[in-house]
């Protein structure tokens, strides 16, 4: 088991290096001279040259990346072109908001989707099944930002139950959490239902039924564990969608998270800040994938047995 976890962690390193390098490369394709955008068009050539040297922009791209990556390990992501504060500090200040939003969204998604998926599968072809799957289908079809706008319109503007913008207290996170979690909930419920349907048709379930085990026990003890394997995969994939969606959700609800910071920095052409935000998102996604893989190994004994 530890061997497997170790192997997965080692595998994470080239992926993180590859991803950060690619993002770094893409952001370096940006047209326009960043130095001119800091100093203004009227800056003297000497001042421009001095700052270029100071920022290391005269080095070749590989050396620039190496310096950036070494800084990244130490928690240094450069200085914002606009506000002149450290990128890492600014992102650190915004991180709790995005983390809270993501955790609430995934908690809503998982706690609702798995029971719904199981019930729909057990009651296949009844109205409960149809209703659940219809809601799930709406969930995978509705754009997260529009759902957010509609929730905002109804619950905040019309009913006044929740604040319209900002992250003042826990109430500010309820609507964004629902908006963001709904899509994941729908996808996970759909997969849980179909994998549950597959599992309850297996021979060993029939065996359990024929020897008189109560149906609830069969579902809970025999079927669920096997049915959850594809669910975990999809839940892991959903985290990526969730991170992308959090950018939109934060924009709709005016939450001061990393996603909003990223969009504001793109509009302000603040490249180090944009780069920092994207890198934090992708590294977070890689780490979540690693955790999902490890959970996977705990649930699926076939993986465990390969490493013992």
């Amino acid at each position: 088991m530890w061997k497997y976890i170790g192997k997965r962690i080692v595998y994470l390193i080239p992926v993180v290096i590859g991803v950060t390098f690619m993002v770094f490369l893409i952001m370096n394709m940006a047209p326009g001279d960043p130095v001119k955008s800091i100093l203004g068009e009227q800056a003297s050539p000497e001042a421009i040259e001095e700052l270029r040297e100071e920022l290391g922009l005269n080095d070749n791209i590989l050396i620039q990346y190496k310096n950036y990556f070494l800084g990244l390990i130490k928690g240094d992501m450069g200085i914002s072109y606009k506000s002149k504060v450290g990128v890492a500090e600014e992102i650190g200040a915004r991180l709790p908001t995005t983390a809270k939003l993501s955790v609430i969204a995934i908690a809503i998604a998982i706690s609702l989707s798995i029971p719904l998926g199981i019930i729909a599968a057990v009651k296949q072809n009844t109205w409960i099944d149809s209703l659940t799957m219809f809601v799930a289908l709406l969930g995978v079809s509705v754009p997260v930002f529009w759902l957010g706008l509609m929730l905002l319109l109804f619950f905040s503007l019309k009913l006044g139950w929740f604040p319209v913008s900002g992250a003042a207290n826990w109430k500010s996170f309820i609507l964004p959490g629902i908006a963001l979690g709904f899509l994941s909930m729908a996808s996970i419920a759909r997969v849980t239902r179909s994998s549950m349907l597959e599992v309850i048709r297996q021979d060993y379930i029939r065996t359990a039924r024929s020897k008189g085990v109560p149906y609830n026990t069969i579902i809970r003890k025999h079927a669920l564990k096997n049915a959850l394997i594809p669910t975990i995969t999809v839940a892991g994939l959903q985290i990526g969608t969730l991170l992308g969606g959090s950018v939109l959700t934060e924009t709709v609800f005016g939450l001061p998270g990393i996603g909003r910071l990223m969009i504001q920095s793109i509009q302000g052409r603040d490249l180090p800040m944009v780069l920092g935000c994207i890198i934090v998102f992708t590294v977070a996604f890689s780490i979540v994938n690693l955790i999902v893989d490890i959970i996977y190994a705990f649930v699926d004994p076939r993986i465990k047995s390969q490493y013992t």
Binding site: G18, M22, V140, P143, F145, L149, V247
Partner: protein
């Protein structure tokens, strides 16, 4: 007449007819299975309606007059007989803009999916067919692409290259490549060692012929399903990026961009945020229904 002149070629003709018949019957079978699924037929009908509206939009509305031209005297009108979905902050008819918006979304959606399908398909086919080192290099690069969530990747490229429709299309095309590469690769790998490919090789068929005649047709089913679902994903991403101000820019009508400008007027003129969102949802819903139906119809094992 024809038969008499080319009498010596008759067996080949017969073979051709037989092959054609066989292909048709397979398609017919898929169509038959798809037809049985009422919800996916509904999805197909909705998509066909949206496509026809997109094509016919030029005859229904005048682009410059109804869609782009500002008409301040008619601004912010609630839905009425003249303007079924109301007018926006610049006095433009929202229904006209939604219908023209379908043009934007569908054309960008289909174009980018075709580009990613072709490039991803070629990469996946090479990877799966040759295996070994080439496979390893291609797939590790694809892994890196997949390690970045799609929306975020598109945002990265648009942030670097600047906001324009072309850059949006580049971003969306690239982000779709690894998915198709993976699907095509795995179907190619399952197909390449089966007996009929071995037989084709035995009669002297070269790699290209094997790939085109045997491997591609057999990997078509998952690719078709993925294509349908990918169009849905792309349309959602276009809307999302335009909503953030990173996609299609004004005054070109696009659903996400319309929602973005409607936001400021949400409190008093909520109808402005309602209709473009419904348009996105219905389109995506239809594509999802069709995609699900196709998946079941193309894979009889699931039934």
């Amino acid at each position: 007449m024809d038969g008499i002149i080319h009498n010596n070629k008759k067996p080949t003709d017969a073979l051709k007819i037989k092959q054609k018949y066989k292909k048709q019957s397979q398609l017919k079978e898929i169509w038959f299975r798809l037809k049985k699924n009422k919800t996916s037929v509904l999805g197909l009908i909705i998509i066909l309606i949206i496509i026809s509206l997109a094509i016919a939009s030029g005859f229904i509305y005048d682009y410059d007059e109804d869609v782009i031209n500002q008409n301040i005297s008619e601004r912010l009108q609630s839905p009425s007989l003249d303007h079924p979905f109301g007018t926006d902050e610049l006095g433009r008819d929202i229904l006209a803009r939604i219908i023209y918006g379908s043009r934007t979304s569908l054309s960008i959606g289909f174009t980018t999916v075709v580009i990613s399908l072709i490039s991803g398909g070629i990469l996946g086919a090479i990877s799966g067919f040759y295996g070994g080192r080439i496979d390893n290099v291609i797939m590790r690069i694809m892994d890196i692409f997949l390690a970045i969530p799609g929306t975020l990747f598109a945002i990265t490229i648009v942030a670097a290259l600047g906001t324009s429709t072309i850059n949006l299309m580049i971003a969306l095309s690239i982000s779709g490549v690894p998915r198709f590469a993976r699907i095509v690769r795995s179907s190619v790998m399952t197909v390449k060692d089966v007996e009929f490919v071995e037989a084709a090789r035995a009669i002297g068929a070269n790699n290209l012929r094997i790939i085109i005649q045997h491997v591609i047709p057999n990997s078509l089913a998952p690719v078709i399903v993925q294509t349908t679902l990918q169009v849905a994903t792309i349309i959602l991403t276009i809307a999302g990026l335009s909503f953030l101000g990173l996609g299609v820019s004004a005054p070109q009508p696009e659903w996400g961009a319309m929602l973005s400008s409607a936001r400021a007027y949400m409190r008093e003129y909520s109808y402005m945020t309602l209709f473009p969102g419904l348009a996105i949802m219905i389109t995506i819903l239809a594509l999802n229904l069709l995609g699900d139906g196709l998946r079941d119809a193309l894979d009889p094992r699931l039934k």
